[in-house]
C-alpha cells in the first residue's frame, strides 16, 4: 500500500480529558483513500473522542496524525477543514434561524472570505446533483425535519471540498427511509473518491455499507478488519468481549408476584417520532430485570413513560394491579413507584439544599393536606434517614446539593427513593460517572433492595452492571425488545449481537 493511498493515519493516540478521564489509550487508526470505514464500539468506547481529535477540535495528549501522507498538527477545526476534513456531529451545528442557503454561505465564508451567496448555492446545487441529496434552499433550518438538516450538514462539508467526511452516528436520528437515502448518497460519494468514516454501533449497517471496520473497546483498538471477511457475530464479540472485573455476592433470587407490568407500550420521543415500539415487560417482587442496550434506543423514553413524565401513545402500565397509565408521576410515586433518572440534572436541584432535594419525590408525605403547609420537620427527618442509611458524606442537611461529590449526590437521589419504601423501582444508569467505591456501594444497595422483595427494573448501557446485577436480562434495540431471558442464556457475543440489532 503506497503512502498516497492512505487518507488518514493516526498513530498511538492517547487522550486524557482535563478531568482525568482516560478516553483513548494508544489508538492506531488507518483509513484508505476512497473507502467507507466503519468505527464501531459501545457507548464510551472513545469513538467521538478519536474523531474530534482528527477534526482538530481537541488535541491528543500524545500521538501523531498524517493526512494523505502529510504530517499535521491542527490547532482547531479550521485547520482540519483546510486539509479537506469535514465532520457531521451527532448534534448539528447549523444556525437554526437561518435559511439553508444562508447556512451554506456562512460555511463557505469560513474558507473563502470573498465567497458570494450565489457561489454557495451554485456549488451546493452541483453537490446535490452528484449525491442525490436534495435540500430546500429557502427554508429556515429549524422548520426542517432532522433528516433534511443532516443533508444540509453533509452538503455544507462537501462545498468546502471535503475529501474526508466523518459521520458520527448519523443514523441514530434517522427514520429507516432516511437511512436508505443516506446510504445511497454515501455510496455515490465513495464513487467520486471521497473517503468516509462512519461511526455506528449498529452491526447491520457496518455490514451493509463499510469496506473496513475498526472496533474500539474502552479506548483501545480491538482490531481493524475487512468487512466482507467477518460475520456480525465476530464484530459483536470484538465489541463487547471483556473480563468481569469484580463479582458481587448475590443470593439466588426468589421472585414473587408481578409488581410492575408494561404492556405493548408505545411512546414518542421529543421530536414526535416513535421511540418505544410495543414493549412488554414484567418485573416481579424480589428480582432485578436488567435492560441492556446502546444509548438512544428508547430507554429514556421508556423510563419516563413508566414514571409518568412522558405521555403514552398506546399500551398500559400497571403497578401492583392498578392501571396507572393515566396517572401523574406524583400519583404513581404515591402508589409505590420509584424512579431514579439517568441525569442528576433532572433528579436534583443543584441550588437547593439536601432537605429540599429529598422533599422532591417525598412531597406527598411532606405536604400537610389541609393547609398545604410544607412540614419541613418531617422532611428533615427523612433527609437524616437518607444520610445515615446511605452513608452520605455531607457537612450538614442545609448544604446545597451542588457542594456534594457526584457519588454522594447519587446516593441522595437513590436514598430518597429507598426510604419511602416503594415496591417498584425503575433505576437508570445508577452508577454513571461514579468512582469504584461509590459504584460498588450503589450496586450492593440495589441487591439488598432486591433481597427485601422490591421489584427493580435496571436500565443501563453499562454491560458490566447489567451482568453483575440482573436476575433476568432484556435487550432493547430501536425501541423494541430483542430478547429476554436468564443471564445464562446470554453469552457476551449474543448480547453484543442483540445490542447491535441482530437477532441471535
Amino acid at each position: 500500500m503506497s503512502q498516497k493511498e492512505i487518507a488518514v493515519e493516526m498513530r498511538n493516540i492517547h487522550k486524557i480529558y482535563p478531568d482525568g478521564v482516560v478516553a483513548l489509550k494508544g489508538v492506531d487508526f488507518i483509513v484508505k483513500k476512497g473507502e467507507i470505514h466503519g468505527l464501531l464500539g459501545e457507548n464510551g468506547a472513545g469513538k467521538t473522542t478519536l474523531m474530534r481529535i482528527l477534526y482538530g477540535e481537541i488535541k491528543p495528549t500524545k500521538g501523531e496524525i498524517k493526512i494523505f501522507g502529510e504530517r499535521v498538527k491542527f490547532s482547531g477545526p479550521w485547520d482540519a477543514i483546510r486539509k479537506g476534513i469535514g465532520m457531521v456531529y451527532q448534534h448539528f451545528t447549523l444556525v437554526p434561524t437561518f435559511t439553508v442557503k444562508e447556512n451554506l454561505f456562512l460555511s463557505l465564508l469560513s474558507i473563502n472570505p470573498k465567497a458570494t451567496i450565489d457561489e454557495a448555492i451554485e456549488k451546493a446545487k452541483q453537490v446535490s446533483k452528484q449525491t442525490g441529496l436534495r435540500i430546500p434552499f429557502d427554508r429556515v433550518i429549524e422548520e426542517l425535519p432532522i433528516g433534511v438538516q443532516q443533508r444540509v450538514e453533509i452538503i455544507k462539508s462537501l462545498i468546502r471540498e471535503a475529501k474526508i467526511l466523518i459521520l458520527d452516528e448519523p443514523t441514530s436520528v434517522l427514520t429507516p427511509v432516511e437511512t436508505k437515502d443516506l446510504f445511497e448518497a454515501l455510496l455515490k460519494l465513495k464513487q467520486q473518491g471521497i473517503t468516509i468514516i462512519f461511526i455506528t454501533h449498529k452491526l447491520k449497517e457496518v455490514k451493509e455499507i463499510t469496506d473496513h471496520v475498526t472496533v474500539l473497546r474502552r479506548g483501545q483498538v480491538v482490531g481493524t478488519v475487512e468487512t466482507s471477511k467477518v460475520t456480525e457475530k465476530d464484530l459483536a464479540r470484538m465489541m463487547v468481549e471483556r473480563e468481569i472485573l469484580f463479582k458481587l455476592e448475590k443470593k439466588p433470587a426468589k421472585p414473587g408476584r408481578e409488581v410492575l407490568v408494561v404492556k405493548d407500550l408505545e411512546v414518542y420521543d421529543d421530536r414526535g417520532l416513535p421511540a418505544v415500539k410495543g414493549v412488554t415487560l414484567t418485573v416481579r417482587e424480589g428480582e432485578i430485570l436488567g435492560l441492556a442496550g446502546v444509548q438512544g434506543n428508547g430507554q429514556k423514553e421508556l423510563a419516563e413513560a413508566i414514571a409518568g413524565m412522558r405521555p403514552v401513545a398506546s399500551g398500559k402500565i400497571i403497578i401492583d394491579d392498578i392501571d396507572v397509565t393515566q396517572l401523574s408521576a406524583f400519583e404513581r410515586y404515591k402508589l409505590g413507584l420509584a424512579y431514579v433518572p439517568d441525569s442528576r440534572k433532572v433528579g436534583l436541584i443543584y441550588d437547593m439544599n439536601i432537605v429540599e432535594n429529598v422533599a422532591l419525590t417525598n412531597l406527598y408525605r411532606i405536604i400537610s393536606k389541609k393547609s398545604r403547609r410544607m412540614k419541613w420537620g418531617v422532611a428533615e427527618k427523612i433527609a437524616s434517614e437518607v444520610i445515615s442509611k446511605l452513608e452520605v458524606v455531607a457537612p450538614s442537611l442545609s448544604t446545597p446539593i451542588k457542594y456534594l461529590s457526584g457519588g454522594n449526590q447519587q446516593k441522595v437521589m437513590v436514598g430518597r427513593e429507598i426510604v419511602r419504601e416503594p415496591r417498584a423501582f425503575v433505576v437508570t444508569e445508577p452508577t454513571q460517572g461514579l468512582d469504584v467505591a461509590a459504584t460498588e456501594f450503589i450496586r450492593k444497595t440495589l441487591i439488598h433492595l432486591r433481597d427485601e422483595g422490591k421489584a427493580i427494573l435496571l436500565i443501563s448501557t453499562d454491560l458490566d452492571e447489567i451482568l453483575q446485577l440482573s436476575d433476568r436480562i432484556a435487550v432493547i434495540y430501536e425501541g423494541k425488545i430483542m430478547a429476554i431471558g436468564k443471564p445464562e442464556e446470554f453469552t457476551l457475543e449474543r448480547l453484543g449481537l442483540l445490542m447491535g440489532g441482530v437477532h441471535a
Binding site: M309, S328, A329, M352, T361, L363, W376
Partner: protein, 360 residues
C-alpha cells in the same frame, strides 16, 4: 430554659449556615463592596464632569434622604410591593416587568371601590378593606393575563408586559378624565374619602404584613416550593410530577397581587388620588425591578432594598432643591448606583433566563 434554647438553636443554625456558605457570603460581600465602589466612582465622575461637587451631592443624598422616617417609609410602600411583583415570578423563572401596569390597576380599582363603598355604606374602614382587596385582585388578574398568554399561547411575557403597560396607562387616564374627575380640581381623580384613608405608618405595616405572607407562601407552602423548583429546574419539576406551567401561573398571581396591593396602598396612604398625567404612580413598577434585583429576589431583602431606594429618591429631590441640579441628574446618579449594585445578580438571572428560553 426553653426560650434560651430557641435563641441558642437559632444562632447555631445561623452560624452553621454562614460556615457552609462561607465562600458564597465572602463572594457576595466582595461583590457588593466592589459594585458600590464602582457605582460611586462612576457617579462621582459624572457629577464632576457636570461641574457639581460629588462630595456635596452624596452628602445631601444620604443625609436628607433618610432623615424623615414617615416620608421614607411611605415612599418605600409601593416599592416593596413592586419589588415583590418582579421577584416572585423571577423565582419561578418568569420575567415580570408588568409590575408597572399591575400597580396602576391596583391603584385605580382600589381608588374607585374605596370611594363608592365608603360613600354607600358610610363606613370608612369597610371602604379601606374592600379597596385593598379589590386592588390585590385587580393586580393579580392583570398579571394572570400575561401568564395565561405565556403558558397557553407561548407568547413571551416581556413583550406582553410592555404592551399591557402602555395600554393600561392610557386606558386609566381615559377612564379618569371621562368618568372619575374631581369636580373641584379637574386635573385630578376623585379623592379617597378622609375616613377611609390611611397614614403612611399603617400603610407600611400592611405592606410588611403582605411581604411576610409572601415569604410564608414561598418558603413554607407547597405552592412556593413548587414555584422555586420550577424556577431553578423545570425538568426536576416534571420529574416530581408537577407542572412548571402551574408554577408560572401561581407566581404571576402572587406577584401581580403584590403590585396591586402596592397600588391600593399608594392611593390609600400616600397620594389619595390619581392625577390625570399619572405622575404620582408612573415608574414605580419599573423601579420595582431594581428593588427586586437589589434585594436578591428575597422578600426580606426587598424590604431593605425598597427603603434604600426610597432614601435615594428622596435624597435626589433634596439634591435638586439644594444644588439646582436638574431632576434628570439625580435620577441618573441614582440609576448608576443601583445598576452597579444589582448588575452582577441581574446578569446571573438573565443568563439563566436566556438559557431557559432557548430550551423552550
Amino acid at each position: 430554659m426553653p426560650k434560651e434554647n430557641i435563641l441558642y438553636k437559632f444562632i447555631r443554625s445561623l452560624i452553621e449556615k454562614i460556615k457552609i456558605k462561607k465562600h458564597e457570603y465572602i463572594m457576595a460581600t466582595i461583590e457588593i463592596v466592589l459594585s458600590a465602589l464602582i457605582g460611586f466612582l462612576v457617579a462621582g465622575i459624572v457629577l464632576y464632569v457636570m461641574e457639581y461637587d460629588p462630595g456635596e451631592v452624596f452628602y445631601i443624598m444620604f443625609n436628607y434622604g433618610f432623615n424623615d422616617p414617615e416620608y421614607l417609609f411611605g415612599k418605600a410602600i409601593p416599592l416593596i410591593m413592586t419589588g415583590l411583583a418582579f421577584s416572585i415570578p423571577a423565582l419561578a423563572g418568569v420575567f415580570n416587568i408588568g409590575g408597572e401596569s399591575q400597580l396602576y390597576w391596583g391603584a385605580f380599582i382600589g381608588l374607585i371601590t374605596t370611594y363608592y363603598v365608603t360613600q354607600y355604606t358610610g363606613i370608612g374602614t369597610l371602604g379601606t378593606i374592600i379597596g385593598i382587596l379589590a386592588g390585590i385582585l385587580a393586580g393579580a388578574a392583570w398579571a394572570l393575563l400575561i401568564a395565561v398568554l405565556r403558558v397557553y399561547r407561548g407568547i413571551n411575557e416581556v413583550i406582553t408586559a410592555i404592551m399591557l403597560n402602555w395600554i393600561s396607562y392610557f386606558t386609566i387616564i381615559y377612564l379618569i378624565i371621562k368618568f372619575f374627575t374631581n369636580p373641584i380640581i379637574p386635573h385630578q381623580s376623585i379623592e379617597v374619602p378622609e375616613k377611609a384613608s390611611l397614614t403612611p405608618y399603617p400603610g407600611f405595616i400592611i405592606a410588611i404584613v403582605g411581604t411576610l405572607i409572601v415569604y410564608y407562601l414561598l418558603y413554607y407552602t407547597d405552592i412556593g416550593y413548587k414555584m422555586r423548583v420550577s424556577g431553578l429546574s423545570p425538568a426536576s419539576a416534571k420529574y416530581a410530577g408537577f407542572d412548571p406551567s402551574r408554577a408560572i401561573l401561581s407566581s404571576m398571581i402572587i406577584g401581580g397581587g403584590s403590585a396591586g396591593l402596592g397600588g391600593s396602598l399608594l392611593i390609600l396612604a400616600i397620594s389619595h388620588n390619581i392625577d390625570t398625567t399619572m405622575s404620582t404612580i408612573y415608574g414605580l413598577g419599573f423601579t420595582g425591578i431594581g428593588v427586586g434585583l437589589l434585594g436578591r429576589n428575597h422578600p426580606i431583602g426587598i424590604i431593605f432594598s425598597a427603603l434604600f431606594f426610597a432614601g435615594l429618591l428622596i435624597g435626589g429631590q433634596w439634591v435638586e432643591l439644594k444644588t439646582g441640579a436638574p431632576p434628570m441628574l439625580s435620577d441618573a446618579i441614582m440609576g448608576i448606583i443601583v445598576i452597579a449594585l444589582s448588575a452582577p445578580y441581574a446578569y446571573r438571572l438573565l443568563m439563566n433566563y436566556l438559557s431557559r428560553l432557548k430550551k423552550r
